[in-house]
Symmetry: C2
C-alpha cells in the first residue's frame, strides 16, 4: 500500500538523456520480440528516467555507425543490445569502436570464462566463440552469468556506453545486478521509484479517464497522466513534470483514485492480476483449484510465476475431451451430453469438480470456443463460460470475448481471475452475495 507521508522529491533526472539502440535483423524481421525495450524502459522509467528514444536497426556496420554516432552526440547514456555473439552477423563491437576512436583488445580472461561455461555444460567450445573475447581498450567488462558474450562498459567524454548481449536471460540479470548500480552511483539514475501507477481491472480506458478526470483537473499541468490498456486491465501512471509535486503528493493523488475506483482498483505498482488474487487467497488462508478447456493451461500458468504458489494453488486440470472431464473432474456424462461441454452447466460442474477433487476452497473454471475454428450457432467463437465455486455458492457467467485466439484466452483468464478477486474482496468485507458484473467483456 502507498503511504501518505510526504517524502523528499527524488533528484531531478529529467535532464539525463538516455537512448537505446537495439541491433539485429532478427528484431526488424520479427523473428524475436524486442523485449529489451520493455525491460530496460521499465527499469529506467521506475527510477525517474523516461527513455528518450529507442532505435532498432539492422546488423549492417554502416547503419550501426550512423545511428550510434547520432545517439552518442545527443545522449548522456547510450545502451546497445545484441550483436555481441559469436556468429558472422555480429558486427557491433567493431562498428562502435570506430566511432569511439578506441581499439579492441583481446582479453584472455574472457576466454577463460567462456571455456569454463562450455565445460560446465559438457560441450566443446568452437573457435568462433573467441570473437567474444574482445573488449574496448579503455573500457570494462560486465560478467555474463548466463551466456558466453560478456557486456561492455565505457565511460568516455562524460558519457556512458553500455553494450549488452541479446538473449534476455543474459541481458536482464546483467542490467539489474551490474548496470543499474553503476548508473545510480554516477548519479545518472534515481535510487527509487519516481511515479505512482494505479492499476485497474474491468474498466475501459476512456471510462477510466472520465471517472478520474475530476481528480486530475485539480492539479492542472503539475500532473502528467499516461494510460496503458492491456486485455481487460488499464494502468494509469501519475507523475509530475519537473517534480512540481512531491512523491508523497503523487501517492496521495493515487490513493484518492483508488478510493474513487473501489473494486475496480487492482493495485499500486506492477503486480499482476494473478498476484493480487493470490495475495488475497493467501491472506484469507484459502486454496484454489482450476479447470479449463479453451484457455488450455494458461489459467493455471498465471499463478505459477508466483513463487510459493503451492501454498494456495492446489492444482489444475486441462480437460480437452469429455473423457478427461469425466475422468479427472467426475463430471456426470449426462451434463456433457445434455448441455454440451461449452455451457454454463458444464462450467459449474468443472469448477465444483476441480475444487472437490483437489480439496480446495475455491474452484475456477473456463470453458468455451477460443477460435478460430470451432463454435456453434448458439455459442459462436469467442463465447466463454466461466464458473466460480466458493464457500458461499457456485455461479457461472457467459462472456463474449472478441479477437484472435491469444486475445480470447488472455481475456477469459483475466475475467475469471478478476471475478475471483472481487469475490475475495467482498468476502473480506463480510459480504456473501456473488458479485454482479456486466456479462460482456470487451
Amino acid at each position: 500500500m502507498v503511504s501518505a507521508n510526504i517524502q523528499p522529491a527524488p533528484p531531478v533526472l529529467a535532464s539525463k538523456h538516455y537512448e537505446l539502440l537495439t541491433l539485429g535483423d532478427e528484431l526488424l524481421l520479427g523473428l524475436t520480440a524486442n523485449g529489451h525495450l520493455t525491460f530496460i524502459g521499465a527499469q529506467l522509467g521506475r527510477r525517474g528516467v523516461l527513455l528518450r528514444r529507442n532505435v532498432t536497426i539492422t546488423d549492417e556496420a554502416e547503419a550501426i555507425v550512423a545511428e550510434f554516432r547520432a545517439s552518442w552526440a545527443r545522449a548522456d547514456v547510450v545502451i546497445t543490445t545484441g550483436g555481441l555473439g559469436p556468429t558472422c552477423d555480429d558486427r557491433t563491437r567493431e562498428a562502435i569502436a570506430a566511432v569511439l576512436g578506441q581499439d579492441l583488445v583481446f582479453d584472455p580472461a574472457i576466454v577463460k570464462e567462456i571455456e569454463a561455461r562450455f565445460s560446465r555444460l559438457g560441450r566443446k567450445m568452437t573457435d568462433n566463440n573467441l570473437k567474444q573475447a574482445y573488449r574496448f581498450a579503455r573500457g570494462e567488462v560486465l560478467a555474463n552469468a548466463n551466456g558466453t558474450a560478456p557486456g561492455l562498459w565505457v565511460e568516455q567524454g562524460g558519457k556512458v556506453l553500455v553494450m549488452l548481449p541479446g538473449p534476455p536471460n543474459e541481458l536482464q540479470p546483467m542490467f539489474t545486478d551490474q548496470v543499474v548500480p553503476r548508473l545510480v552511483k554516477l548519479g545518472l539514475l534515481g535510487d527509487r521509484e519516481a511515479f505512482v501507477q494505479v492499476r485497474t481491472a474491468g474498466v475501459g480506458e476512456s471510462a477510466l479517464e472520465a471517472r478520474l478526470q475530476p481528480i486530475f483537473d485539480r492539479h492542472g499541468d503539475a500532473l502528467s497522466i499516461a494510460f496503458c490498456a492491456h486485455q481487460g486491465q488499464v494502468d494509469c501512471r501519475v507523475s509530475s513534470p519537473g517534480d512540481r509535486l512531491s512523491f508523497g503528493q503523487l501517492e496521495m493523488i493515487a490513493e484518492e483514485c483508488a478510493q474513487l475506483l473501489g473494486e475496480d482498483f487492482l493495485c499500486f505498482g506492477h503486480d499482476s492480476l494473478a498476484k493480487v488474487t493470490a495475495d488475497l487467497l493467501r491472506a484469507q488462508e484459502q486454496t484454489l483449484a482450476v479447470a479449463e478447456t479453451a484457455t488450455g493451461g494458461s489459467l493455471a500458468d498465471a499463478f505459477t510465476d508466483i513463487c510459493g504458489a503451492a501454498k494456495f494453488f492446489a492444482g489444475g486440470c486441462v480437460c480437452y475431451s469429455n473423457e478427461s472431464k469425466m475422468q479427472l473432474l467426475d463430471i456426470p456424462e449426462d451434463i456433457l451430453i445434455q448441455h454440451g461441454a461449452v455451457s454454463a452447466e458444464s462450467a459449474v460442474a468443472m469448477a465444483a469438480g476441480a475444487a472437490e477433487r483437489l480439496g480446495a476452497n475455491y474452484g475456477l473454471a473456463i470453458t468455451g470456443f477460443a477460435g478460430p475454428c470451432g463454435g456453434t450457432h448458439e455459442n459462436p467463437v469467442g463465447t466463454i463460460y466461466i464458473a466460480l465455486y466458493s464457500p458461499h455458492g457456485i455461479w457461472s457467467r457467459k462472456l463474449n470475448c472478441p479477437g484472435p485466439r491469444p486475445t480470447v484466452k488472455k481475456r477469459a483468464v483475466n475475467a475469471a481471475l478478476d471475478w475471483l478477486r472481487r469475490e475475495l474482496l467482498r468476502t473480506r468485507l463480510g459480504a456473501t452475495a456473488p458479485v454482479r458484473q456486466t456479462d460482456t467483456v470487451s
Copy 2:
C-alpha cells in the same frame, strides 16, 4: 516441405524503404511490449522487405513531428502505431497532419461505427471517443473490427503513410486484411515469401553455424545468413542479397541444411516446436496427455494455440501438491515420500499416470524447481526432471536449466517437446529404442 522446383525470382523490393514509428510513453516505459515491431517486421520480412528502421518515441507532439518529418523524407512507406485513442495523451493525428500540411476533418461515419461498437458491448460511449472520428482531408479510413479507433491511410507525393491503432488485437487483423493487400497492389510489397527459414532444435547457435558453414561457403556473398536463438531453438534464415540466387536455389540450399542436420532440423518456416510435434502425433494417429508441476500449465498451453488440438491432446494436469498428484494421477504416495516430488521416479509416475488416466498413447511429464525459491542441495533451482511414456517404454531425463523462472519454464517445456518429437521421428522410421541425448540443456 520446401519443394526443389526453381521458381521465378521475386520482384526486387530491396529498394523500397520502410520505416516504423511506434509511439507511446507506455512503450518507452516498458508498460507494454513493442509487439508491433515483431508483428509488422515479420509480415514485411516474409514478403521481401527488410524494415529499415524502427524508432520508438514519446507521445510529445514535438518529438513526433521531428521523427516523422525525418522518416517521411527518407522512406517510401512510413507506418505509425499508437496515439490514435481517445485519451488526452493521444496527440499523433495532429502532429502528423502538421507535417503533411493536411487538414483533419470530422467524419460522422466513424462516429456511427464507434457508437455501434459501444452499443454491441452494452456500454455508453463517452464524449472523449469523438476525438477518434477525425481523419485526414485527403486520406482514407481503415475500419477497425476490434476497437474504436480506425486506422488511417494516406498516399501523398509518391509515398504512403499508414497509421494504426495501438492495441495488438486491433492492429494485427487491420494490417493483414487491409494494409498488406493495399501495399501489394501498389507494388510496395511482394505477394509471397522471400527467404527460407531453417528452424532447428537442440543445437547451440555457434555449433549450428560451424556445422552449416561448409554449405554456405560454396555460395560466397550471394548468400545472406542470419541466426536467431530462442530457448533451445535456433533459426537460420537464408536469403540472397539482390536476388543473385533464385528462390528455388535458396530452397535447395535449405533442403541441404535440413539433410545435414538430421533430427536437429525442426521445420522450414515458422511453425512452433509444439506444432511440429502435434503434426507428428496427428500423422501417426497418436494421442498425448501431460502432467506438470514447475511449468505450471505451460506445457499444456503450448498445444492449445493449435486449432483442433482436441484431436490429439487428451488433456493435462497441473499438480502442485502431492495430494493432487495422488488424486489426479494415481501416483503411489510411497514414490513421493521415498524419492520426493522432484525426482526421476516421480516424473516417470506422472507421465505414466497422465497417459493411463486420460487414455493417451503418449505421456509427457515435467517436475522440478523453476526458482527463484525452492530447490534442495541435491536438486538446486533449475533442476528439472522430464519423463516420456510411449508405446515402447518409459524413460526420464534430468535437466539443468539455468536462468530466471520464465526461462527455466520455457526451456523445460521445449526440452520435453523436443524429446517427444525425436521419439516420434524415430518411431516413424521404425526404430523403437529411446533417443539418447545429452542430459544438460543450456
